[in-house]
Symmetry: C2
Subunit: 335 residues, 2 copies
DNA sequence: ATGAAAGCGCTAACAG
DNA sequence: CTGTTAGCGCTTTCAT
């Protein structure tokens, strides 16, 4: 293998270097590299080999500048560590890939970052944005200018479009099921973080009022371990709750463990309902009854919406740019 | 808010449009947009407002071309749906973000795609690649030319660098633990897919031979449900295995469910050990004993290595570019 | 404080 | 089949 080893850091070879080495014009190099017509097989191969030897790869910037490159969408996600988000991300990536878009992923939960940091990082790199942006949604759209932002799980105001969830519907489903089961002492374990939490908590409160039940509300950080601890404390107390609705499936899984640790049987002593419908729910014991969202659908819907926004077939801020999806109650063992 | 609504699809506003609208030179616009010195506050604000109204955002290509943009690394992953990969991806994203790199994510498991398709999509977009590339590793490096590829869980040959796992060590740990527990009839549930599977399977076989045990080998697709089914079938048979080592934690979780369904207690009737150490293991019942990898470390190591490769401080193909990480046995309840 | 010129690396549109 | 010209949108000089 002939190859000088060029400093990895130093200037990369350009098309001109290859052209010079081959003694041809840069156009010929273009033709060789892109499999275009109008070049003799001999030159093509010679050029290609030379290019490989020189370690030449075309600058995506130059190429993008002249050709207008494929769309890249930024995906801003709070925490890849909560299985909900990869499941969602996965479907976004899939739908994007089908359209020959690429997705630049940013997880802002890790550092101390806010979602706005993520957007700031993403904004110069992408043509559009999908994300769980919460209260930063408006600022995010400002940073993106005219480029569309699709906000998940937060009311669209400045954002071009968004997807919300009908939490009142979900809460009604869960509460009805619990009361129909005979639960009289219900607790709702909420996330202690704003944004989404507000939406879900408020809906649960409203629907509880409507159903004439008054659940105990408690809070924990949105992780399995925090939920486990919170429920452990609660279960150790005198509260003999017999129904538990949890902010999300991950937390519900933690709650299940705590209940089990405390010797309460599920659903015998206490029925448990999660929210999200992630695959994890089928792996825990007892298997988790949950308000399920088809994550595949959510991701696909977000990308479809974005496509509409990008093409102009869906006007930004229009009614069609604001979608609402509904949860469905999946009965498994825990309730 | 003054704003003509420009066709979303049509040509985006350029710096020249803004300059014309403001009646200044493009240079002044640059200065206004980038907060540079040498411009009166008045003009700056006027230009900024105009830019916003026109929906102007600078072309990342033009900018990248002239400035040399931040590094983007491609991340090629087989299946975001297996919790192992998001956990890994998460740490890569974190480490990359700290370096002001961005990561373009591609999940090739979804479609019928091979990892090479993912690399082909990624190659024109990125400066470097990290991925679970298996047998496509060499071709991937070819597609990337001189740009470094860090391969995970597969021997480095053409790739610039890689991270492998010491499966013989892992297998020894597990087998020793199982035999020390008194297991005499051990089964190894392998993935039915090549690549990584080969490495793990071979290591288990080798270490079993060394330990003088001869496990039953069975195969399933690398998903919880496939594993569950495979173990259900096995458990229904006459094989009274008392130790089960599983290809990964996800499959182990499925196996646990199957054992439970079949009425065999874990670890009483059968001890179970998983591999990977994903958080899921703590949520299942009984909690999963596993050969754990610190995923956070794996991701960070991959990014560190890539940084070395990129800067030239670690020569491609060198000894230092080939790292090996070891699993650690975490004892929980299942074995 | 502002403007003019040059050029980043590539490909499209024409020559020849 | 190959080479020449132009120009993508931006920032860097270097003037003014």
């Amino acid at each position: 293998m002939t190859s000088r080893s060029p400093d990895p850091l130093g200037r990369r070879a350009t098309i001109l270097d290859v052209a010079a080495a081959a003694g041809v014009s840069r156009q010929t190099v273009t033709r060789a590299m892109n499999g275009m017509a109008g070049i003799s097989p001999a030159t093509r191969e010679r050029v290609q080999k030379l290019a490989a030897d020189l370690g030449y790869s075309p600058s995506r910037f130059a190429k993008g500048l002249v050709q207008g490159a494929r769309i890249s969408v930024g995906l801003a996600i709070p925490d890849l560590t909560n299985p909900y988000f990869p499941a969602f991300a996965s479907s976004v990536v899939e739908a994007a890939t089908q359209r020959h878009w690429n997705v630049v992923m940013d997880d802002y939960g890790h550092g101390t970052g806010s979602s706005l940091d993520a957007v700031a990082r993403l904004a110069p790199q992408v043509d559009a944005l999908i994300g769980y942006l919460g209260e930063d949604s408006d600022d995010a759209q400002a940073l993106m200018g005219r480029r569309p932002v699709v906000v998940l799980d937060y009311p669209v105001s400045q954002a071009a479009g968004g997807i919300s969830f009908d939490y009142r519907h979900a809460a009604r489903l869960a509460l009805n099921h619990l009361t129909a089961r005979g639960c009289t002492n219900i607790v709702y374990l909420d996330s202690d973080q704003g944004g989404t939490a507000a939406g879900r908590g408020a809906a649960v409160a409203a629907m509880a009022a409507e159903a004439g039940v008054s659940p105990t509300i408690c809070h924990a950080a949105p992780s399995a371990s925090a939920a486990r601890e919170a429920i452990a404390v609660l279960a150790a107390g005198s509260n003999l709750f017999d129904g538990l609705l949890v902010f999300n499936d991950l937390m519900a899984a933690g709650a299940l463990k705590a209940l089990q640790d405390s010797g309460r049987s599920v659903p015998g002593d206490c029925a448990v309902i999660g929210m999200d419908g992630i695959p994890l729910g089928e792996l825990v014991t007892p298997e988790l009854t949950t308000l399920s969202l088809n994550l595949r659908t959510v991701g696909r819907t977000a990308v479809d919406l974005l496509e509409g926004l990008l093409s102009g077939s869906v006007p930004a801020h229009s009614k069609d740019a604001s979608l609402t999806l509904r949860h469905e109650l999946i009965l498994r063992q825990s309730a």
